[in-house]
Amino acid sequence: METRDIYLDHAATTYVLPEVKSAMDPYFCERFGNPSAFNSKGLKAKGALRNARKTVAELINALPLEVYFVGSGTESDNLAIKGVARANKEKGRHIITCKIEHHAVLDSCKALEKDGYEVTYLDVDKYGQIRLNDLKKAIRNDTILITIMYANNEIGTIEPIKEISKIAKEKGILFHTDACQAGGQLSIDVKELGVDLMTLNGSKLYGPKGIGLLYVRDGVKIEPIIHGGGQEKGLRSGTENIPSIVGFAKALELAQTSKDEESKRLILLRDKLKKGLLEIPKTLLNGHPTERLPNNLNIAFADVEGESIILRLDALGIYVSTGSACTSKTLEASYVVTATGMPDEIAHGSVRFSLGHRTTEEDIDYVLDVLPKIIEELRNMSPVEVDLEKILEEWNKNE
């Protein structure tokens, strides 16, 4: 059979767009200076750095001095959480997050727990959203930080960021959001969102890998986690990665200016895929039916295991994922899907389809053409026959 090249794993990482690559290219061999160097070569690099910072600041509606470039989304999450926790420990040592955060957030919190901080991991409802009442109840006098992701990387659910920030503001608690998955598709106006800190990265929005951003509202107390030459106003030392910074700014610009149009296109394609896949018997939609990323579809196929589906699709040139790329260990059901109240046995059959720039209707048609047969074959080979009614009943308990 012919092999296609249908990439439906944009949530794991994206290709760099040609315009982004072109923007980066001059900074490798020609405009290569070190922005801290006191000569014209350095000055040119510094100029590029400043322009990139200005571009990004405008796109997120912040001041340039509130924009810090770091080495990845993970580093940005670590810096936000550990940096704020350590700088504000006199105020308190309690942090609130939720159970479906990315490991970058969860494991930063766990690292702080070892240092004597306390962390509340909020539950989520059946669609993956936190309950605002839970949040209010979790807030204590010594709560210094709330960190809740903008949109989930596995099930695509968008969290109620504005409502959370309202609560945080009322209580005078800092609010950080991991917007890695949202940056390419949703509005990331920090004023409108009301966040104090926001994490973005390049590798999810058609920019380069190895570059992240932390927005820190002017006045927020935060400590560095990487010390050295004092770059990024001392918050992130190390020679500035100009090509990647320039590429990131370009990518964010392209993503943000095209997002309305592109979102419409992706939603059409995704909903076609959703409709087709949910016509397969014994399937369920993971995540929120409406409050979800335009490019994300996560479907649970009962009675089959995700890895088999992925490998069968892979052989045809269709590239998808089960859970998050970092934890693609087949022995474990996705902690995100199970957190929504889905029983493990069905979480094991969950597959994420994440669409993007290169996705065409033809791609979607092809997936809809081949996947039902694959599911049928795998089900024929499977000794498991779950009772979907019972599963739904259990899941619905997590209203």
Binding site: V304, E307, Y335, H348, V384
Partner: protein
């Protein structure tokens, strides 16, 4: 990492952890050798339909594992003159679980069939050896294979007596 999701009933959970520490590099290999791929994409001795499975008359059958843990195997055997002459199976699980059940079904039926007492001695290592190198983490899946086989033989012996 996520303790919570570690399957408590997994018979080799500890083993997995040891292996993990021993060879983290290889552990991160999620892709399989040609043999595994062949058996995954062209599984031997399976039923074409659910009906075929339902109507199959086995001398012994058994199911092990649990869907919550991500691995379930069911095995049907026919025995003649103390040898396994047919071995059918169903597997819910990852590629190596499927491939290892498939190869196991070949191992016990090839060359006129394996004697029951030999089949009872088969270990996960034997299956892995036949499959070729497998990511250590995946050993787990083949462990279920020999368990399913033994359980099916036990069922056959019980039925017989």
């Amino acid at each position: 990492m996520s303790e919570k999701n570690k399957c408590e009933t997994c018979p080799v959970a500890e083993q997995c952890d040891v292996k993990e520490k021993e060879d983290i590099e290889t552990l991160r290999e999620w892709f399989y050798n040609e043999n595994v791929r062949d058996h995954f994409f062209n599984p031997r001795n399976i039923f074409k339909t659910k009906e075929e499975a339902e109507n199959y008359k086995a001398d012994g059958e058994a199911m092990v594992g649990s869907p919550a843990c991500g691995d379930v195997m069911k095995m049907w055997i026919k025995v003649k003159d103390g040898k396994i002459v047919e071995c059918k199976w169903q597997t819910f699980g990852c590629a190596s679980a499927i491939a290892s059940t498939s190869i196991l079904s070949v191992m016990v039926t090839e060359n006129g069939g394996m004697k029951i007492e030999d089949a009872l001695k088969l270990t996960a290592q034997d299956i892995v050896k036949r499959l070729g190198d497998l990511p250590p983490r995946k050993f787990h899946c083949s462990v279920l294979g020999d368990q399913a086989l033994r359980a099916a033989i036990k069922n056959y012996l019980e039925k017989k007596n």
